[in-house]
Amino acid sequence: MPDQEKQIREIMVDVFEFPHVPYWFSLRQVSGILTKSIRGGKCLRPAAALVFDEKYNLLGHLDLQDILQAVGNAAFTGEKVRQDVFSASDTETTRALSELSERPASSLLHQSRLFADPEDLVSKAAELMLRNSLPILPVLENQKKLVGIVRSTEIFEYLSAAFFRA
């Protein structure tokens, strides 16, 4: 561990580095937003969108992996490996994907249940994220205002410094 442990506010990234979507956006819309974010080169890892309610309260997040998993479940059914799952002629798969694309973001989101405070030490965020397998951890000021996001990337960078020193 570094001698002088940092606070979370020193390593967190701004919430506006991540795309924002309301929970009623369809998965088609969220996929479009994530695609633009990746293509525009501004996308942070993990490629995720923060999901909010009508009053701009954070509900959770939705990442590329969640959407890929859902697409896979819809397309790759049965045991046999199929070659034509994404072709327009495969009506069953097309229908399943079409239904999936219209589902709301809320149907796949990871609810935010754990939060950090900007004044907390990085080790606290690291413990929370590692114990709960969280790719991102929202940071709330005064337990209310969303001010930043801690990603596993920052945690890894921070901890690896200590790891190599040990």
């Binding site: 506006f16 795309p19 924002h20 979507v21 309301p22 956006f25 819309q29 479009g32 937003i33 633009k36 974010s37 525009g40 501004k42 969108a49 909010f52 309610d53 009508e54 009053k55 701009y56």
Partner: protein, 245 residues
């Protein structure tokens, strides 16, 4: 409140009658769907000519207070909100001017990313965060207008905390954020309402509503895009054209 026609009053007779009748409607003495007295009865009551009565009634019909039904008579109608095109007037101002009881319910005040062609409509890069406001306007206990507004977040981030039920958005932009709207580009069409819009406006899904799209500019900078769905029977747009001499 004026109750009689005063012939010594410098105001024209038809204007005096118009004010008397308007007061009766606005004060609820004549409720919606009430048949007003006939021309002859009004002439007799106020001791004025038929021409004067006709002029006053015609003006109230034009301004959405009365509805003439061929062969049946003249009735008090649900208030139609007269709205000029490209007027930089807030809904609140319009309602106060029309002396109508109204309220605003904020259904959403949050942040999202532009989808579909919103980035083009707002003239912003597609990865710009946008403030999204959804408001339902209620007049005389009836929802009449569903408004969705989009503003680039960086222009006024504090807008997320502002009280938009009691205050006008245009006034907040102007007074609090010093954003003076100088131009509005408007597009009007008829559009069917979706299930959700129909629920909110009390209309059957697929019913035709008036769709008003507005792009607000401060100088050359686009500030806001608004999509308003209006119950068609409650609004009337007026356009005044002037011939250059």
């Amino acid at each position: 409140m004026t109750l009689i026609i005063d012939r010594d009053n410098p105001k024209k007779l038809y204007v005096q009658l118009l004010e008397i009748l308007k007061d009766k409607i606005e004060d609820g003495e004549w409720a919606v769907d009430t048949q007003i007295p006939t021309e002859d009865e009004l002439c007799k009551t106020y001791e004025i000519s038929k021409a004067t009565v006709r002029q006053a009634v015609a003006s109230l019909v034009r301004n959405g207070y009365l509805l003439k039904q061929q062969g049946r008579g003249t009735f008090v109608c649900k208030r139609v909100i007269p709205e000029g095109l490209s007027m930089l007037t807030s809904f609140r101002e319009l309602m106060l001017e029309a002396k109508v009881v109204f309220s605003t319910k904020v259904l959403a005040q949050t942040v999202l990313m532009p989808t579909d062609d919103l980035d083009i409509k707002l003239d912003i890069p597609e990865d710009t965060h946008v403030i999204y406001l959804k408001r339902l306007r209620v007049v005389e206990d009836e929802p009449i207008l569903l408004q969705e507004s989009y503003l680039p977040y960086h222009i006024c981030p504090q807008l997320l905390q502002d009280d938009l039920e009691e205050n006008s958005l245009l006034e907040i932009l102007e007074d609090k954020y010093q954003i003076k709207i100088t131009k509005v580009q408007e597009f009007i069409e008829i559009a069917p309402v979706t299930d959700n819009e129909g629920d909110l406006l009390g209309l059957q899904p697929g019913t035709a509503a008036l769709l008003l799209e507005q792009r607000f500019f401060a100088g050359t900078r686009e500030i806001m895009y608004t999509r308003s769905l209006k119950r068609p029977e409650r609004f009337r747009f007026s356009i005044e054209r002037e011939r250059k001499t």
